[in-house]
Symmetry: C2
Subunit: 147 residues, 2 copies
DNA sequence: ACGATTTGGTCAAGCTACTTGACCATGACC
DNA sequence: GGTCATGGTCAAGTAGCTTGACCAAATCGT
Protein backbone atom coordinates (compact mmCIF):
# COMPACT_ATOMS: atom_id res chain seq x y z
CA UNK A 1 0.00 0.00 0.00
CA UNK A 2 1.46 3.33 -1.02
CA UNK A 3 2.02 6.19 1.40
CA UNK A 4 -0.42 8.49 -0.32
CA UNK A 5 -3.13 5.85 -0.06
CA UNK A 6 -2.74 5.70 3.70
CA UNK A 7 -3.70 9.36 4.00
CA UNK A 8 -6.55 8.78 1.59
CA UNK A 9 -7.80 5.93 3.76
CA UNK A 10 -7.81 8.21 6.77
CA UNK A 11 -9.64 10.87 4.83
CA UNK A 12 -12.22 8.32 3.71
CA UNK A 13 -12.75 7.19 7.29
CA UNK A 14 -13.23 10.73 8.47
CA UNK A 15 -15.58 11.54 5.63
CA UNK A 16 -17.65 8.45 6.31
CA UNK A 17 -17.79 9.06 10.04
CA UNK A 18 -18.66 12.71 9.50
CA UNK A 19 -21.36 11.78 7.05
CA UNK A 20 -22.95 9.34 9.48
CA UNK A 21 -22.85 11.65 12.49
CA UNK A 22 -24.33 14.48 10.47
CA UNK A 23 -27.17 12.31 9.18
CA UNK A 24 -27.91 11.00 12.64
CA UNK A 25 -27.92 14.43 14.17
CA UNK A 26 -30.24 15.71 11.46
CA UNK A 27 -32.53 12.75 12.04
CA UNK A 28 -32.65 13.32 15.77
CA UNK A 29 -33.51 16.97 15.29
CA UNK A 30 -36.15 16.06 12.71
CA UNK A 31 -37.75 13.93 15.42
CA UNK A 32 -38.11 16.97 17.65
CA UNK A 33 -35.04 16.83 19.87
CA UNK A 34 -32.29 19.38 20.10
CA UNK A 35 -28.81 18.16 20.63
CA UNK A 36 -25.38 17.61 19.28
CA UNK A 37 -23.75 14.39 18.18
CA UNK A 38 -21.97 13.83 21.48
CA UNK A 39 -25.33 13.26 23.15
CA UNK A 40 -25.93 10.04 21.28
CA UNK A 41 -22.62 8.59 22.34
CA UNK A 42 -23.21 9.64 25.92
CA UNK A 43 -26.62 7.98 25.79
CA UNK A 44 -25.20 4.66 24.66
CA UNK A 45 -23.11 4.61 27.81
CA UNK A 46 -25.90 5.84 30.10
CA UNK A 47 -28.39 3.37 28.67
CA UNK A 48 -26.89 0.49 30.57
CA UNK A 49 -27.88 1.40 34.10
CA UNK A 50 -26.40 4.89 34.22
CA UNK A 51 -22.82 5.98 34.71
CA UNK A 52 -20.72 8.34 36.78
CA UNK A 53 -19.25 11.49 35.32
CA UNK A 54 -15.81 9.95 35.35
CA UNK A 55 -16.98 6.87 33.49
CA UNK A 56 -18.66 9.07 30.94
CA UNK A 57 -15.48 11.09 30.54
CA UNK A 58 -13.49 7.94 29.84
CA UNK A 59 -16.09 6.71 27.39
CA UNK A 60 -16.02 9.97 25.47
CA UNK A 61 -12.29 10.52 25.77
CA UNK A 62 -12.50 13.93 27.42
CA UNK A 63 -11.66 15.33 30.84
CA UNK A 64 -14.15 14.81 33.63
CA UNK A 65 -14.74 18.57 33.67
CA UNK A 66 -15.85 18.46 30.07
CA UNK A 67 -18.06 15.46 30.81
CA UNK A 68 -19.55 17.31 33.77
CA UNK A 69 -20.37 20.27 31.55
CA UNK A 70 -22.01 17.93 29.07
CA UNK A 71 -24.10 16.48 31.87
CA UNK A 72 -25.10 20.02 32.92
CA UNK A 73 -26.35 20.53 29.39
CA UNK A 74 -28.24 17.24 29.35
CA UNK A 75 -29.83 18.02 32.73
CA UNK A 76 -30.86 21.47 31.52
CA UNK A 77 -32.56 19.91 28.50
CA UNK A 78 -34.26 17.29 30.64
CA UNK A 79 -32.53 14.24 29.20
CA UNK A 80 -30.76 13.02 32.35
CA UNK A 81 -30.80 13.35 36.13
CA UNK A 82 -28.01 13.39 38.68
CA UNK A 83 -28.81 10.93 41.46
CA UNK A 84 -26.81 10.05 44.55
CA UNK A 85 -24.69 6.99 43.87
CA UNK A 86 -25.98 3.97 45.80
CA UNK A 87 -22.53 2.69 46.74
CA UNK A 88 -20.23 5.72 46.80
CA UNK A 89 -21.25 8.91 48.54
CA UNK A 90 -18.71 10.93 46.55
CA UNK A 91 -20.08 9.88 43.22
CA UNK A 92 -23.30 10.66 41.45
CA UNK A 93 -25.10 8.30 39.17
CA UNK A 94 -26.23 9.94 35.93
CA UNK A 95 -29.39 8.29 34.64
CA UNK A 96 -31.63 8.88 31.65
CA UNK A 97 -35.04 10.46 32.21
CA UNK A 98 -38.07 9.30 30.23
CA UNK A 99 -37.34 12.04 27.70
CA UNK A 100 -33.75 10.91 27.64
CA UNK A 101 -34.89 7.42 26.69
CA UNK A 102 -37.05 8.88 23.94
CA UNK A 103 -34.11 10.81 22.58
CA UNK A 104 -31.95 7.70 22.76
CA UNK A 105 -34.47 5.75 20.73
CA UNK A 106 -34.69 8.63 18.26
CA UNK A 107 -30.91 8.55 17.85
CA UNK A 108 -30.97 4.81 17.26
CA UNK A 109 -33.70 5.16 14.68
CA UNK A 110 -31.86 7.95 12.93
CA UNK A 111 -28.67 5.90 12.95
CA UNK A 112 -30.55 2.93 11.51
CA UNK A 113 -31.94 5.15 8.76
CA UNK A 114 -28.48 6.44 7.91
CA UNK A 115 -26.97 2.99 7.83
CA UNK A 116 -29.85 1.77 5.70
CA UNK A 117 -28.72 4.23 3.05
CA UNK A 118 -25.31 2.58 3.15
CA UNK A 119 -26.80 -0.88 2.97
CA UNK A 120 -28.54 0.13 -0.24
CA UNK A 121 -25.18 0.93 -1.78
CA UNK A 122 -23.01 -1.82 -0.38
CA UNK A 123 -25.44 -4.53 0.63
CA UNK A 124 -26.06 -5.86 4.12
CA UNK A 125 -23.16 -8.25 4.06
CA UNK A 126 -20.55 -5.65 3.23
CA UNK A 127 -21.79 -3.21 5.86
CA UNK A 128 -21.63 -5.93 8.48
CA UNK A 129 -18.16 -6.84 7.29
CA UNK A 130 -17.12 -3.21 7.48
CA UNK A 131 -18.36 -3.04 11.04
CA UNK A 132 -16.61 -6.26 11.97
CA UNK A 133 -13.27 -5.05 10.62
CA UNK A 134 -13.55 -1.68 12.31
CA UNK A 135 -14.25 -3.25 15.68
CA UNK A 136 -11.18 -5.42 15.31
CA UNK A 137 -9.05 -2.37 14.64
CA UNK A 138 -10.22 0.08 17.28
CA UNK A 139 -12.08 -2.07 19.75
CA UNK A 140 -12.85 0.22 22.63
CA UNK A 141 -10.97 3.41 21.94
CA UNK A 142 -12.46 6.61 23.30
CA UNK A 143 -14.74 8.51 20.98
CA UNK A 144 -12.67 11.61 20.53
CA UNK A 145 -13.83 14.28 18.15
CA UNK A 146 -11.98 13.15 15.17
CA UNK A 147 -9.61 15.57 13.67
CA UNK B 1 -29.40 -4.79 11.27
CA UNK B 2 -30.69 -3.66 14.63
CA UNK B 3 -31.00 -0.02 15.60
CA UNK B 4 -28.48 -0.25 18.40
CA UNK B 5 -25.91 -1.70 16.00
CA UNK B 6 -26.20 1.33 13.75
CA UNK B 7 -25.00 3.61 16.54
CA UNK B 8 -22.27 1.12 17.36
CA UNK B 9 -21.11 1.23 13.75
CA UNK B 10 -20.87 4.98 13.91
CA UNK B 11 -18.94 4.79 17.13
CA UNK B 12 -16.56 2.28 15.60
CA UNK B 13 -15.98 4.54 12.62
CA UNK B 14 -15.25 7.50 14.82
CA UNK B 15 -12.96 5.50 17.05
CA UNK B 16 -11.05 4.16 14.07
CA UNK B 17 -10.76 7.56 12.43
CA UNK B 18 -9.70 9.15 15.70
CA UNK B 19 -7.13 6.44 16.26
CA UNK B 20 -5.61 6.95 12.82
CA UNK B 21 -5.50 10.75 12.99
CA UNK B 22 -3.90 10.63 16.42
CA UNK B 23 -1.25 8.16 15.29
CA UNK B 24 -0.48 10.21 12.21
CA UNK B 25 -0.21 13.44 14.14
CA UNK B 26 2.10 11.78 16.67
CA UNK B 27 4.19 10.44 13.82
CA UNK B 28 4.46 13.83 12.16
CA UNK B 29 5.54 15.47 15.41
CA UNK B 30 8.04 12.68 16.04
CA UNK B 31 9.58 13.61 12.69
CA UNK B 32 10.17 17.15 13.91
CA UNK B 33 7.18 19.06 12.62
CA UNK B 34 4.61 20.86 14.66
CA UNK B 35 1.08 20.83 13.47
CA UNK B 36 -2.41 19.59 13.90
CA UNK B 37 -4.25 16.93 11.96
CA UNK B 38 -5.98 19.40 9.66
CA UNK B 39 -2.62 20.26 8.14
CA UNK B 40 -2.27 16.86 6.56
CA UNK B 41 -5.63 17.09 4.87
CA UNK B 42 -4.88 20.60 3.67
CA UNK B 43 -1.58 19.36 2.27
CA UNK B 44 -3.23 16.63 0.24
CA UNK B 45 -5.24 19.31 -1.51
CA UNK B 46 -2.33 21.73 -1.92
CA UNK B 47 -0.03 19.00 -3.21
CA UNK B 48 -1.64 19.02 -6.62
CA UNK B 49 -0.52 22.39 -7.89
CA UNK B 50 -1.78 24.53 -5.06
CA UNK B 51 -5.27 25.77 -4.32
CA UNK B 52 -7.19 28.91 -3.50
CA UNK B 53 -8.50 29.60 -0.02
CA UNK B 54 -12.03 28.90 -1.18
CA UNK B 55 -11.07 25.56 -2.69
CA UNK B 56 -9.33 24.63 0.52
CA UNK B 57 -12.40 25.62 2.51
CA UNK B 58 -14.60 23.36 0.40
CA UNK B 59 -12.13 20.51 0.70
CA UNK B 60 -12.06 20.79 4.47
CA UNK B 61 -15.74 21.55 4.88
CA UNK B 62 -15.27 24.83 6.74
CA UNK B 63 -15.94 28.49 5.95
CA UNK B 64 -13.45 30.35 3.84
CA UNK B 65 -12.63 32.50 6.87
CA UNK B 66 -11.61 29.41 8.79
CA UNK B 67 -9.57 28.20 5.84
CA UNK B 68 -7.91 31.61 5.61
CA UNK B 69 -6.96 31.42 9.27
CA UNK B 70 -5.53 27.96 8.73
CA UNK B 71 -3.45 29.35 5.86
CA UNK B 72 -2.23 32.15 8.13
CA UNK B 73 -1.04 29.48 10.52
CA UNK B 74 0.65 27.50 7.78
CA UNK B 75 2.38 30.61 6.45
CA UNK B 76 3.58 31.51 9.94
CA UNK B 77 5.09 28.06 10.30
CA UNK B 78 6.69 28.22 6.90
CA UNK B 79 4.76 25.40 5.25
CA UNK B 80 3.00 27.40 2.53
CA UNK B 81 3.14 30.69 0.63
CA UNK B 82 0.43 32.96 -0.69
CA UNK B 83 1.14 33.79 -4.30
CA UNK B 84 -0.84 35.94 -6.70
CA UNK B 85 -3.13 33.76 -8.76
CA UNK B 86 -1.97 33.57 -12.38
CA UNK B 87 -5.47 33.80 -13.84
CA UNK B 88 -7.59 35.70 -11.34
CA UNK B 89 -6.37 38.91 -9.72
CA UNK B 90 -8.84 38.52 -6.86
CA UNK B 91 -7.60 35.13 -5.87
CA UNK B 92 -4.37 33.93 -4.34
CA UNK B 93 -2.76 30.62 -5.03
CA UNK B 94 -1.62 28.83 -1.89
CA UNK B 95 1.40 26.67 -2.61
CA UNK B 96 3.61 24.42 -0.50
CA UNK B 97 7.13 25.59 0.36
CA UNK B 98 10.00 23.15 0.45
CA UNK B 99 9.39 22.66 4.15
CA UNK B 100 5.73 22.15 3.37
CA UNK B 101 6.63 19.33 1.03
CA UNK B 102 8.82 17.79 3.71
CA UNK B 103 5.96 17.92 6.16
CA UNK B 104 3.63 16.42 3.59
CA UNK B 105 5.96 13.51 3.06
CA UNK B 106 6.30 13.09 6.82
CA UNK B 107 2.51 12.93 7.13
CA UNK B 108 2.33 10.32 4.40
CA UNK B 109 5.00 8.24 6.06
CA UNK B 110 3.28 8.49 9.40
CA UNK B 111 -0.02 7.53 7.82
CA UNK B 112 1.63 4.55 6.15
CA UNK B 113 3.06 3.47 9.51
CA UNK B 114 -0.34 3.73 11.16
CA UNK B 115 -2.05 1.78 8.43
CA UNK B 116 0.69 -0.84 8.57
CA UNK B 117 -0.38 -1.54 12.14
CA UNK B 118 -3.87 -2.22 10.82
CA UNK B 119 -2.58 -4.42 8.05
CA UNK B 120 -0.88 -6.58 10.66
CA UNK B 121 -4.24 -7.17 12.30
CA UNK B 122 -6.52 -7.45 9.31
CA UNK B 123 -4.24 -8.33 6.44
CA UNK B 124 -3.59 -6.26 3.35
CA UNK B 125 -6.66 -7.52 1.52
CA UNK B 126 -9.11 -6.55 4.21
CA UNK B 127 -7.64 -3.10 4.65
CA UNK B 128 -7.89 -2.49 0.95
CA UNK B 129 -11.44 -3.77 0.99
CA UNK B 130 -12.26 -1.47 3.88
CA UNK B 131 -10.90 1.45 1.91
CA UNK B 132 -12.81 0.49 -1.19
CA UNK B 133 -16.11 0.26 0.66
CA UNK B 134 -15.58 3.56 2.45
CA UNK B 135 -14.85 5.36 -0.78
CA UNK B 136 -18.05 4.02 -2.27
CA UNK B 137 -20.03 5.34 0.67
CA UNK B 138 -18.63 8.82 1.15
CA UNK B 139 -16.81 9.52 -2.08
CA UNK B 140 -15.85 13.13 -1.85
CA UNK B 141 -17.54 14.48 1.23
CA UNK B 142 -15.84 17.32 3.04
CA UNK B 143 -13.52 16.37 5.86
CA UNK B 144 -15.43 17.87 8.72
CA UNK B 145 -14.19 17.40 12.23
CA UNK B 146 -16.24 14.43 13.05
CA UNK B 147 -18.49 14.85 15.94
C1' DA C 1 -7.77 3.97 64.36
C1' DC C 2 -6.04 7.78 62.20
C1' DG C 3 -3.11 10.70 59.16
C1' DA C 4 -1.77 10.53 54.17
C1' DT C 5 -3.03 9.68 49.68
C1' DT C 6 -6.22 8.71 46.05
C1' DT C 7 -10.57 9.27 43.74
C1' DG C 8 -15.17 11.55 42.24
C1' DG C 9 -16.95 15.87 41.36
C1' DT C 10 -17.40 20.83 40.74
C1' DC C 11 -16.05 25.85 40.06
C1' DA C 12 -13.42 29.16 37.57
C1' DA C 13 -10.69 30.89 34.00
C1' DG C 14 -8.49 30.49 29.60
C1' DC C 15 -7.80 29.01 24.91
C1' DT C 16 -8.44 27.04 20.23
C1' DA C 17 -10.73 26.57 16.25
C1' DC C 18 -14.50 27.53 14.50
C1' DT C 19 -18.65 30.74 13.31
C1' DT C 20 -21.34 35.02 11.53
C1' DG C 21 -21.26 39.68 9.75
C1' DA C 22 -19.19 43.49 7.39
C1' DC C 23 -16.42 44.94 3.99
C1' DC C 24 -13.27 45.63 -0.27
C1' DA C 25 -11.46 44.37 -4.89
C1' DT C 26 -11.98 41.99 -9.06
C1' DG C 27 -14.56 39.36 -12.43
C1' DA C 28 -18.87 38.02 -14.96
C1' DC C 29 -23.31 39.17 -16.97
C1' DC C 30 -26.87 41.38 -19.26
C1' DG D 1 -21.23 50.35 -17.75
C1' DG D 2 -24.05 49.44 -13.96
C1' DT D 3 -25.35 45.30 -11.22
C1' DC D 4 -24.54 41.26 -9.16
C1' DA D 5 -21.46 37.29 -8.02
C1' DT D 6 -17.04 35.66 -6.35
C1' DG D 7 -12.36 35.52 -3.77
C1' DG D 8 -10.38 37.19 0.22
C1' DT D 9 -9.69 39.43 4.65
C1' DC D 10 -10.77 41.85 9.18
C1' DA D 11 -13.30 41.79 13.35
C1' DA D 12 -16.05 40.03 16.90
C1' DG D 13 -18.52 36.34 18.98
C1' DT D 14 -19.09 31.47 20.53
C1' DA D 15 -18.87 26.34 21.59
C1' DG D 16 -16.55 23.06 23.67
C1' DC D 17 -12.79 21.82 25.20
C1' DT D 18 -8.51 22.47 28.53
C1' DT D 19 -5.69 23.35 32.95
C1' DG D 20 -5.65 24.55 37.76
C1' DA D 21 -7.60 24.85 42.28
C1' DC D 22 -10.39 23.00 45.44
C1' DC D 23 -13.66 20.07 48.54
C1' DA D 24 -15.65 15.74 50.28
C1' DA D 25 -15.61 10.88 50.59
C1' DA D 26 -13.02 6.60 50.19
C1' DT D 27 -8.87 3.83 50.58
C1' DC D 28 -4.34 2.70 52.22
C1' DG D 29 -0.36 2.20 55.37
C1' DT D 30 1.21 1.66 59.72
Amino acid sequence: MQNSEALALTAALLAAAGDLTRRINDGVEARGFEGRPAYGFAFTRLARGGATVTELATHLGVTKQAASQLVDELVRKGYVERRPHPEDARARLIVLTERGWECTRAAEEAAADAVRAWVEVLGEGDVRLLYDRLVRIAPYGPLRPAW
